[in-house]
Each structure stands twice: as structure tokens, then as C-alpha cells.
């Protein structure tokens, strides 16, 4: 705080007025302030001061509770923000990690073949499977056309059973 008593009024007024006008202005201010000092206002009653102090003492616990509540709200808000950010980060990381897994399960190729490093064997198994499927396909067509002279319905059932066996053997790898 700038001490008012150290304030150089004349210097201050001289920034805006002439030296003579400044002297007069300082005199006006000082005399008017002397009048104010000579006419003091009544003092506040002791009872009023005591009441004010009592009211302050009564309000302080409320203020402390209010400060604590505000702090708690701030901490809760920050904690919530951290949890949300962490949850989003974890979820994004998990998405990255599970990408290839989804591809494995989405594939129609058996897991054993997918994970196998022996390409030659795998290719051979696929070739056998393809041949078997073609053979079955030909048999089904023959049955449908009644070319082999057997009971068609029974033969179709046998064929279906055979297909199921091949299928499960294949997917087991």
C-alpha cells in the first residue's frame, strides 16, 4: 500500500495544473480534510461490535464446512476425470490388442492350420479335403439323378453322416 501521508500532493497536482494552481489545490484539499477531521462521526456502539464478533464466530464453522465441501467437490471432479480418461485409454489399448484375435476367430480356416508353421502338410491336408468334397459332391449328384440304382433316401442319409464326420475331423485339425 502506498502510504497516503507520503503522497506528494503538490507533485501530483502539478502533472495537471500549473505550479500556482497546484499550490492552491493542495491547500483546498488539506483544509477540507481538516474540516472532516474536526467533525467526527459517532463511533459504532460496543454492543454492535460485540454482536458483529459473535456473528462472525457463529459463521466460521459454516465457512469451514463450505470450504471443505468445495474442496471435496473439486477432488471428486478431478478423480472422476482421471477415471474416465483411464477407462478410455484402457479400452483403446484393449481394442488394439484384440484385433488379431478377432481375425483368428473370424477365419473359416481351422485354428490348428492357422497356427501351424508346416505349410507343406497343411496344403496337403487341404488338397485331400478338397478331393473328398468333390467326390461327395459327385456322389450326391449321382444319387439325385438315381444313376447308381440304390435306395436314394438311405444313401443320402449315409452321405450326410459321412459329411458330418469329415467336417468334425477337419475342424479338430
Amino acid at each position: 500500500m502506498i502510504d497516503r501521508n507520503q503522497e506528494n500532493l503538490k507533485e501530483l497536482f502539478e502533472k495537471f495544473l500549473s505550479a500556482e494552481e497546484s499550490t492552491k489545490a493542495v491547500e483546498d484539499v488539506q483544509k477540507a480534510e481538516q474540516i472532516l477531521r474536526e467533525n467526527p462521526t459517532p463511533e459504532p456502539d460496543d454492543m454492535l461490535i460485540a454482536n458483529i464478533k459473535a456473528e462472525i464466530a457463529m459463521r466460521l464453522p459454516l465457512r469451514r464446512a463450505d470450504v471443505f465441501r468445495r474442496m471435496a467437490y473439486k477432488v471428486a471432479t478431478v478423480a472422476a476425470a482421471i477415471i474416465i480418461v483411464a477407462a478410455i485409454s484402457v479400452s483403446l489399448l484393449e481394442e488394439k490388442d484384440t484385433g488379431p484375435e478377432k481375425l483368428v476367430y473370424a477365419s473359416i480356416i481351422p485354428r490348428a492350420i492357422w497356427e501351424s508353421d508346416n505349410i507343406a502338410t497343411d496344403d496337403a491336408e487341404l488338397a485331400v479335403l478338397t478331393v473328398e468334397l468333390e467326390q461327395i459332391e459327385a456322389e450326391v449328384s449321382a444319387l439325385q439323378l438315381g444313376e447308381n440304382g440304390t435306395n436314394g433316401d438311405r444313401a443320402v442319409e449315409e452321405l450326410q453322416m459321412e459329411l458330418i464326420e469329415i467336417n468334425s475331423a477337419f475342424w479338430k485339425g
Binding site: 500500500m1 502506498i2 502510504d3 497516503r4 503522497e7 500532493l9 501530483l12 497536482f13 502533472k15 495537471f16 489545490a25 483546498d28 484539499v29 483544509k31 477540507a32 480534510e33 474540516i35 472532516l36 467533525n39 467526527p40 462521526t41 459517532p42 463511533e43 459504532p44 456502539d45 454492535l48 461490535i49 454482536n51 458483529i52 464478533k53 456473528e55 462472525i56 464466530a57 459463521r59 466460521l60 465457512r63 469451514r64 470450504v67
Partner: protein, 178 residues
């Protein structure tokens, strides 16, 4: 008035919720703030009310005090409380459908009880406009420098200086019976 170091310690105490420190602030500033309100309202009861409101506000707002001139900060609150009081009076008057002039005369011509003496200064102060009266009282009771008052009122120091000089000169003329 306490030294600035002492005042700083007291304010720290207030921020920590120490009732004793608030009590010291009341002792230090009650008289000046009361004088400020009394000269602006001319009414003892209203001044009592405004002084209580000021210290209650101080308890609520002390956390927002960030250093600098404590007097400047305190009297800014006092000034706001006085303006709130004026606005409240205006609203009530509007509700009663009275003319604004009536309100102003009511504010500057308060009803005095028999025990209250209307001093000559209070009478002459009524003849100044409200803004000048407030500026003079702010300067006298807050004991702030012109620079601080100008900063507080957000106006150039030349404007503050000129308004205050004119007001004090006029008050002096009135008091000396020109």
C-alpha cells in the same frame, strides 16, 4: 493502525478461520467503515446494518483476497454494500410507485431520532452530488492514496484528482459559509 507485517499475519489468521484474527480486523476497521457508512447514509441504524453486512461479507470473501492493499479491498466491498443498499431502496420505492426524487430526498434526508444530532458537516454533505460525496468519504475514511482510489474506481488519476479537488473545495466553501 497495525504495521503491514502484523496486518499480513492477521489476514493469514482470518484465512485460516481464526475468530481472534477476525476480531482484530473488526477492532481495526469498524470505526472507519462506520464513519464511511454514516456520512453516506446519514442514518445510525442503517450504518449499523451496513457495518454488520460488511463484516459478514468479509468472512465469506476473505479467501478471495490475493494480497495488495487490504484497505482498498475492504472499502471496495464497503462501496458495493452501500450500492446494494441504494438499489434495494430504489426497488422498494419503485414498488411503492414513488418518484425517484422522493427516494433521493429520503436517502439524503434521513429521519433522525431525538438522540441524534445532525451536525453541520452532514447537512452540507447533502448538498454535494452522490458520486462526489462517496469519493470524498472514500478518500477520507479508507486513507487510500489518489493512485489507489483511481485504480479502485477504474478511472484515470487525473479524473479522480479533479473530482475530489472540486468536491473538497465546494465542501470547504459550504462549511465556511460562502
Amino acid at each position: 493502525m497495525a504495521k503491514s507485517d502484523d496486518l499480513a499475519q492477521i489476514i493469514i489468521g482470518c484465512k485460516n478461520g481464526d475468530a481472534g484474527c477476525f476480531s482484530q480486523v473488526v477492532d481495526m476497521y469498524a470505526s472507519r467503515c462506520y464513519g464511511y457508512f454514516y456520512r453516506l447514509t446519514g442514518n445510525k441504524d442503517v450504518s449499523d446494518e451496513l457495518l454488520s453486512a460488511l463484516f459478514v461479507k468479509l468472512v465469506e470473501k476473505i479467501g478471495s483476497y490475493r494480497g495488495g492493499s487490504f484497505e482498498s479491498w475492504l472499502f471496495r466491498i464497503a462501496s458495493n454494500i452501500f450500492h446494494d443498499y441504494l438499489r434495494g431502496r430504489q426497488r422498494r420505492t419503485k414498488l411503492l410507485d414513488e418518484r425517484k426524487k422522493q427516494l433521493e430526498s429520503e436517502i439524503v434526508e434521513p429521519k433522525y431520532t431525538d438522540s441524534e444530532r445532525i451536525d453541520k458537516l452532514q447537512l452540507q454533505l447533502r448538498r454535494l452530488d452522490e458520486n462526489t460525496r462517496e469519493l470524498i468519504m472514500l478518500r477520507f475514511y479508507s486513507q487510500l492514496s489518489f493512485k489507489e482510489i483511481a485504480k479502485m474506481r477504474a478511472e484515470p488519476i487525473g479524473t479522480t484528482l479533479s473530482k475530489l479537488h472540486r468536491g473538497l473545495k465546494r465542501l470547504r466553501e459550504l462549511m465556511e459559509g460562502y
